[in-house]
Subunit: 113 residues, 2 copies
């Protein structure tokens, strides 16, 4: 509700890159990934759990990340994900693509120049 209805749609095809980038700072469990993204973007980006966990499984299947059970900072059971080599490559690729796409959209939407 807070963010406008359509804001969510924009995550399409970008969520993966955001999660990969978050993990590039070191292993984290899912919940922490979501918190970190919200904090870092001052809630501009909010990730629903129903989007996050499926995304993590997806990326694990693709070999971009690896999971391992551990203990969270607060002493709770948690699954820690870490970036693989392929994940790093993928992150690099998606970052470039995002930059190009964002640039193109900006050219259209804000052409005042």
């Amino acid at each position: 509700m807070a963010a406008t209805e359509s804001t969510k749609d924009r995550l399409h095809g970008t969520l993966d890159a955001l999660v990969l980038k978050t993990l590039s700072w070191g292993p984290r469990h899912g919940y922490a990934v979501a918190r970190w993204l919200e904090d870092t973007t001052q809630n501009a980006i909010q990730i629903e759990e129903g989007s996050l966990y499926p995304a993590l499984y997806r990326m694990e299947r693709k070999g971009w990340i690896e999971a391992e059970w551990g203990t969270s900072e607060l002493g709770r059971k948690a699954k820690f994900y870490k970036l693989t080599t392929r994940g790093k490559r993928q992150l690099k690729l998606e970052t470039t693509e995002w930059a190009e796409f964002a640039q193109a959209v900006s050219v259209v939407l804000v052409p005042t120049a």
Copy 2:
């Protein structure tokens, strides 16, 4: 194929703004909208017809644009769309949202600053 598979996904929730913006320069028919966007972005943004026309119908239903049959520059029957007042408002809104979203994503992906 040319653009990576995920590039397309990024259009999600952005296509409307792009089309509205295109029409803000004056009425155009669908085909011309697609051409203009491709030209302006040097093919970084490619719009499939199966996405474009449904998007136009959707926005017409929402009252953001209005259609009128006319004749194209090449003397062919074509449906010209023009922005309504509500469409202009919507464009403004989506432009702002896009800027915020893109900013947030950039903060995450390119934090080197």
